[in-house]
Symmetry: C2
Subunit: 326 residues, 2 copies
Amino acid sequence: MRAIELSYKENQPILDLTKDAALPERTSNQLLIKVEAAAINRTDLVAIDTGKLPKGNTILGVEVSGTVVESDSDVFPCGSRVMGLVNGGGYAEYAVMSLGNAMLLSDQLTFVEGAAIPEVFLTAYQTLFWLGELGPNQSVLIHAGASGVGSAAIQLVKQLTSAKIFVTAGSSDKLELCRSLGADVVINYHDEDFSKRVLTETTGQGVDVILDFIGASYWEQNLASIAYDGRLILIGILGGTNIKELNLMDLLEKRIAIKGTLLTPRSDSYKAKLTKEFSDKTTSLFETGYLKPVVDTVFSLEDVENAHQYMRSNKNKGKIILKIND
Amino acid sequence: MRAIELSYKENQPILDLTKDAALPERTSNQLLIKVEAAAINRTDLVAIDTGKLPKGNTILGVEVSGTVVESDSDVFPCGSRVMGLVNGGGYAEYAVMSLGNAMLLSDQLTFVEGAAIPEVFLTAYQTLFWLGELGPNQSVLIHAGASGVGSAAIQLVKQLTSAKIFVTAGSSDKLELCRSLGADVVINYHDEDFSKRVLTETTGQGVDVILDFIGASYWEQNLASIAYDGRLILIGILGGTNIKELNLMDLLEKRIAIKGTLLTPRSDSYKAKLTKEFSDKTTSLFETGYLKPVVDTVFSLEDVENAHQYMRSNKNKGKIILKIND
């Protein structure tokens, strides 16, 4: 089959398109899927940079959409259109997906849209509701609001709760997208200190939950923005990993929880539980169009390196997709 | 009434025994209690040192036991023996207690024992189960195992779960106490690096929950001791407040949650919910002696300053109590 394989020569990563990769082997609790589209994720870039491949798979890609071609399942028989997380192997013509990770892709959505859903919407759901414990009338600050996870998070908060949504982004068109998805207060981090704006808008109380992809460079502003009993959820570290100083008394007095998380390395049983709950709550919202995957650009499989470069430039609004079968 | 009142002269705190303090005023959802015993807590020392008094009350003391002398409640009629948290006002002959904070004191327990229960057992329960989400077959590291909260936490884990209990303490008699209460692995922090011992005993996995009263000086060893998906609960900062460096990638990769907490400043509704759940799960265990408050020393009300000095010396095993009515 056709696939993008990662190898290293003199410690330099090489992504090669091969036409004769071996078909992945399926167990009875997995589906074999003819992949139509796969999404690019930052975890792919981390894997390339560090050489730590998900489950050792030399084919990258942690989410796909496509058609089931081998199955022992009544829920997902051959011919089903599906989307879901995979443990690597997504940048390929065929991939195996655990039954627990599979979701039916409704006819209203294209395969490209389907590939844009699992990772970012599941991450947003998990961080907002499982880790963030966001209550219906609370408030949330979503950084990088126009990113894949950010745009998914805004929509989920808007459709599933009445919480107030604050977002940050770095350009007016990104902020415009955030507003169109449901953000209540949009903040251009180039123009103002987001913590001051958050405190002004919340009459000094701060927000209950922060979803942060930035890390060190936002640390102090995040702690200033958070309410008593607030939850700071760390999903990424685009702004650095090293905090120079942390005053534990701040955490005690404001009773703050700081929770780090990554979705990709988690167990299949965790992902299955998350997929089930997410799917139960959102399938009809995708069918009716209240929830929409945000797709920025579609690249061909051959063009994967340009797709990666584009993600590294941080210019995308929403997901970057690889179309496998043209 | 007799009470210990806190004042400041030239910024120096003064604790005076007065004989004519005003009786506290009771509302219909409070009890008036003739106090028999009050416990010393570290929050009292913090209040003295910072001048930040709980609810502005110049009489310290956040937990008491005694007899109800005024009540509108059928559950706690006049004459009931009770114990519970109060919002300051404990170092006195009479105190008011919110109905939600009151617990019946069983006849098997003395008033001195009753005063030794609420703060430490409620804090231990809250941090272990609400914040720490300790599972039945998980593992927990309890620092300062012979302290008030530490000794309560060991017993609660032992009686309510089958989790494995690691403790640290600084002397062999403290460790002996911990073992007698149910600790599985006792570690003298003077003799060894606790994180190495924890990793050895858990075949490198670490513990699921850490209850920490120490803070900065234990930070790195705590992060080294914690398992994937672990919860580090910060209750105190006896070892300093300032972390010099924090690598956020550690939090992400190990999916660690760090949660700061203090019980005293929380709302009455929070304390009432905690008191109710705690009381439901533990009343019979106190009656049968499976749970036992650990009392170190009993001082008279007049001797409050010596009681405080004793707590500051960190020599106590279990609670330090003020007997109000001799």
